[in-house]
């Protein structure tokens, strides 16, 4: 379990990184390394050059301007969980962040790495789709902005070109508060199923993760009656191509949508502690 040989370069600007990526076709960005390094150790990926972007200061900021939340791609999962303004204005992100791996992984892993990696069981890809975020991408031709709904293409696959870098995520302030729920076998595992739910009053949207090959924001009615809601979740689920389709996977998807919906209705500290919505899986 040793990686194949590779070169390594550390950069301090996006331009430098893009240039290296353009010139060395098998180069890969390394951010937190929490997905890339295991893949390299298994020799499932063998980059010729690692471009270490951890020294790029410009990618490390969280800015809230009253309309948009802008998160630099190098911001760590734990920083998002702990960020006071995110907790206040986008509490669903703080709640979701705590479900990513363990503390040590959250301290290194980055939101940009998670989006670029595009694991369908990951929290961030679904969060950006659910919140209708835009992803800023920089390459040799400059910066382009991709709506999250168009960024993810399937399993571990995005529209990102090999010489492009995710630089930031821009998230508009949501009109309605979202709820979140996730189930994993053990604390910190990737989700068996998870959901973000937005209730706009009688109708809304559900975005699952761990269910299909990529996150999709599905419109649904949201009746008050629980049985009717269960029907609605099932219908919404019917629009997706479910991976490893099984009775229990569908069952969990419905349960998580329902728990996320209940979570969206909790107030204040309860919302952040998620107690009534099932809490951390144990």
């Amino acid at each position: 379990m040793k990686p194949a040989a590779f070169e390594y370069q550390r950069v301090t600007t996006v331009a430098e990184a893009v240039k290296l990526l353009r010139d060395a076709p098998d180069a890969k960005v390394i951010a937190g390394g929490q997905s890339l390094v295991p893949l390299m150790n298994f020799r499932l990926t063998r980059p010729s050059l690692l471009v270490d972007v951890n020294g790029i200061k410009a990618l490390q900021h969280v800015v809230w301007d009253g309309t948009y939340l802008r998160i630099g791609s190098l911001v760590r999962h734990q920083q998002i969980a702990d960020h006071a303004e995110i907790q206040k204005h986008f509490p669903v992100l703080a709640v979701a962040a705590r479900h990513i791996g363990h503390w040590a992984i959250r301290n290194r892993g980055t939101i940009g790495g998670s989006l670029a990696h595009a694991d369908p069981a990951s929290e961030w890809p679904a969060a950006t789709v659910a919140l209708q975020a835009e992803i800023d991408v920089e390459g040799p031709q400059g910066i382009r902005t991709v709506p999250a709904s168009e960024f993810f293409q399937g399993y571990y696959s995005t529209v990102l070109q090999p010489d492009e870098l995710v630089v930031a995520v821009r998230i508009p302030y949501p009109k309605f508060r979202l709820g979140f729920a996730e189930i994993a076998r053990r604390l910190g595992d990737f989700a068996l199923a998870g959901a973000f739910v937005e209730d706009d009053g009688g109708q809304g949207f559900v975005t699952w993760f761990g269910i299909a090959d990529k996150p999709v924001r599905v419109h649904t009615v949201l009746p008050d009656n629980m049985e009717a809601r269960r029907e609605a979740w099932q219908q919404a689920l019917g629009t997706l191509a479910i991976a490893d389709d099984s009775k229990s996977r569908r069952h969990l998807a419905v349960q998580m949508a329902e728990r996320a919906w209940q979570h969206s209705r909790l107030e204040g500290g309860k919302y952040l502690s998620e107690e009534a919505a099932g809490g951390d899986p144990l």
């Binding site: 040989a5 298994f42 189930i183 076998r185 910190g188 990737f190």
Partner: protein
């Protein structure tokens, strides 16, 4: 000996482990820390097929790759494990013409470092012609779809046993039930993986083998025999070992290849398993099926059990201990557990398959048999609508029945079976629980309690670690009065350096910090049987007591002579010897030792010079049973299928305790592993024979947050052996899975669930719950 001498100061005390400072500060030296000048490393090319004929190999590119020193195949190293031919099947240390499981070593690449070895190994081209794999043990018994070894039956071990009078008793009982119990492949997953290094010494011609093993002398004997060398040409040194759990009791193909390569290249060579290799090739365990029929009475009394025990032993019997045989043969003898069930009939079939060989994992047969035995009791209780605790009471062996001969002829020495259960029921507040349970059910919450009363045969004549029924201790009081003792045990984290020092310090009359315990070096340790089968405490500890006592007698004799007192009047303690009642007439043990080694004219006539001796201890009984009760309270979420362990109590009886702190640590670890067995761990093979769980993101282990606080109480029923000590290394993992899944059955009783498998997964629970609403 005087009254004072009998009162131990350290045995039974909560002494902190002397090992912990080095372990907790990262100062311990494990196998991979061994880095000798010029040391080469091996990477193995392993079989990607469960079964295939090897039709050719192209290895030139490997041989000419950077840093490569040698490329070995079976032609170079034609050694078969099981040359002794017990099973008509010998595993080649590198595949010979055919591969029989995914991960089987085929080519060994020896290079200057592991990176180069892995780079070169990738260049190997091996041509395979795939064969249909044998994957299902029930079919394998019928030799279907084919034989794993063309010249040998798939059934490599078959045994039948019937208690006299079984048929009539079974037929005449008023009630019968049948059930099939299935356990799933697991493996030990030690924190430190397997590894071996070997260093030839050109000057002496001897080979030093560094091995991460539980059985230093056994692996020395195995290597010497397999390689055809005299035993005294091999020295085995066991560095710090980060866990063994039975898995490191075997001698593996890689061990032999490493030593062979070191000899033929004249260089130190090392191989350390990575985690994927571990999951593929460390011995697997627990791949068993029990098809059970039970005869019982209306009052819950169980009369007879019939059991067809099957185990999938994998491609070869693991060398030199087949886990399949160990798991089934012992399970069949202790299947009735702590209950006085008079009749059993067992049929055992162990089969070959195209999977990794089955070996030992902590508890071996025990977690399986307890799961079956407690599952039977719970089924009887459910079918009669009786309280499961009450049905256990009715069947329990009573204290006046010891020594008790069970239906399979095993003799149980005294234990506290009923008492341990009553105490555990009290600790978990069983009476109130039923009230709480129904109140919670009304709210749609599903809590359950599982009771597991276990027996644990310990200190047996043979175990996975070897077939040596005794243990030896070499002890020396140094000229300065400090004590050094050496033993042939193979601790892998159990704290022998602490417990054995406690026993010896008491006997010799010195302080704990004055005793150093050496182990794991066949040049310094007397011959020993290693660590496994819960033998180190009762047999190794017994030997420590005997050796300590003999040394004490020598010191007393010497002191009596020098202090001009009667031997009966000499007392020893805190590094001193004195005349009882006259503390002024005293000498330090240091002074005595100095005389024993240097002023030897002052030694009494007939006493040997120096203070060194070897003592051996073999218990008179061939086995001593520990016992106890585990009770788990769980909450099952019927919506997610997740199980949370909310409360856990253990009442444990392992005879006289050497160190309660260490006993409790052993119990905590065993319960944690039990949670893994009950809910998480499973090595899954696909229909194509590929192992699908080759990393720890697929093979799930319990995490700290999965393990609840555990309440522990001790009962003490001493053994008849030295010190009254019984073993306790496995009981906690024997008891735990049965308690945990029994609790799931209890919680989901409204859905008519009776768990029949290990582990229980969220998918299972969802299936059971949604099928019945």
């Amino acid at each position: 000996m005087t009254e004072q001498a009998m009162r131990p100061q350290f045995m039974g005390a909560r002494v902190k482990r002397v090992e912990d400072p080095r372990l907790l500060t990262g100062q311990a030296r494990y196998l991979d820390d061994i880095d000798l000048p010029g040391m080469l490393e091996i990477a193995f090319v392993r079989s990607p097929y469960p079964s295939a004929r090897i039709t050719g190999m192209e290895l030139n590119a490997v041989k000419s790759a950077a840093g490569v020193r040698a490329v070995l195949t079976f032609e170079d190293c034609p050694i078969l494990l099981w040359q002794r031919d017990s099973y008509q099947v010998g595993q080649p240390v590198l595949a010979h013409n055919e591969v029989r499981y995914v991960g089987e070593p085929v080519v060994a690449v020896v290079a200057e470092d592991r990176y180069q070895a892995e780079d070169a190994a990738e260049l190997a081209v091996v041509h395979y012609e795939p064969l249909q794999p044998v994957l299902d043990m029930v079919q394998a018994i019928e030799e279907l779809p084919r034989r794993v070894h063309s010249h040998a039956s798939n059934v490599f071990y078959h045994k039948e046993y019937t208690t006299q009078g079984f048929s009539d008793a079974f037929a005449q009982a008023p009630r019968h039930l049948a059930a099939t119990f299935r356990t799933t492949r697991q493996t030990a997953v030690t924190l430190e993986p397997r590894g071996t290094a070997a260093m030839p010494d050109p000057a002496s011609g001897r080979m030093t083998v560094y091995a991460s093993t539980q059985s230093p002398h056994r692996i020395r004997g195995d290597l010497a025999e397999l390689l055809g060398w005299p035993e005294n040409q091999v020295r085995v040194i066991v560095p710090e070992v980060g866990g063994g759990f039975g898995m490191k009791a075997n001698t593996y193909p890689e061990d032999v290849v490493v030593v062979w390569a070191a000899r033929h290249l004249g260089k130190p060579v090392k191989w350390v398993s990575d985690r994927t290799e571990s999951l593929l090739t460390d011995v697997h365990a627990r791949d068993d099926i029990h098809e059970v029929e039970v005869a019982y009475q209306d009052d819950g009394r169980i009369i007879a059990i019939r059991d067809h025990l099957m185990a999938d032993g994998g491609a070869y019997p693991a060398y030199p201990f087949s886990g399949a045989v160990g798991e089934t043969s012992l399970a069949s003898r202790v299947l009735t557990g702590p209950y006085q069930i008079p009749y059993i009939e067992t049929v055992i079939d162990c089969t070959y398959s195209n999977k990794t060989p089955l070996g030992a994992y902590r508890g071996v047969w025990g977690p399986i048999a307890s799961f079956v035995q407690e599952g039977i009791v719970d089924r009887v209780a459910r079918s009669l609508s009786l309280d499961p605790a009450e049905v256990r009471r009715i069947n329990m062996i009573r204290p006046d029945q010891f020594p008790f001969r069970n239906a399979a002829g095993m003799i149980y020495d005294a234990g506290s079976y009923g008492e341990s259960m009553e105490e555990a029921l009290r600790l978990i507040n069983y009476k109130d629980f039923r009230v709480r349970q129904s109140a919670l059910r009304a709210q749609g919450r599903y809590r359950g309690i599982g009771i597991s009363v276990f027996v644990e045969p310990t200190a047996m004549a043979s175990s996975e670690a070897g077939s040596v029924g005794y243990e030896s201790v070499f002890i020396r009081v140094e000229p300065t009065g400090k004590v050094t003792a050496a033993m042939g045990l193979g601790p892998t984290g159990q704290g022998h350096e602490t417990t054995m020092a406690q026993l010896i310090a008491d006997q010799v009359g010195v302080n704990l910090e004055d005793v150093v315990i050496l182990h794991g070096d066949t040049d310094s340790a007397p011959f020993g049987g290693g660590t496994g089968g819960s033998r180190s405490g009762p047999i190794g500890g017994g030997a420590a007591l005997v050796a300590g006592r003999e040394m004490r007698q020598r010191l007393v004799k010497l002191a009596a002579h020098l202090l001009e007192a009667a031997e009966e009047d000499i007392e020893l303690g805190h590094g001193q010897a004195w005349v009882a009642g006259v503390p002024d007439r005293a000498m330090t043990i240091r002074q005595l030792a100095e005389i024993a080694y240097t002023h030897v004219k002052r030694i009494p006539p007939g006493m040997p010079i120096g203070l060194e001796l070897v003592a051996r201890y073999q218990p008179e009984q061939s086995v001593s049973f520990s016992n106890g009760t585990h009770i788990a309270e769980v909450e099952v979420d019927p919506l997610t299928g997740l199980v949370q362990v909310v409360n856990y109590v253990v009442v444990n009886d392992c005879g006289r305790l050497i160190n309660p702190l260490i006993v409790e640590g052993q119990i905590h670890g065993g319960v944690a592993q039990g949670i893994g067995s009950a809910f998480l761990e499973s090595l899954r093979y696909g229909d194509d024979g590929q192992l699908m769980t080759t990393s720890l993101s697929d093979y799930l282990l319990p995490e700290a947050t999965d393990v609840p606080r555990i309440t522990i109480e001790h009962l003490v029923t001493p053994s008849a052996g030295e010190g009254g000590i019984k073993g306790m290394g496995e009981g906690s993992l024997i008891g735990a899975p049965a308690a945990l899944v029994g609790a799931v059955s209890d919680a989901l009783a409204p859905f008519h669930v009776m768990v029949d498998r290990l582990p229980v997964t969220p998918d299972d629970v969802i299936e059971w719950v949604t099928a019945r609403v």
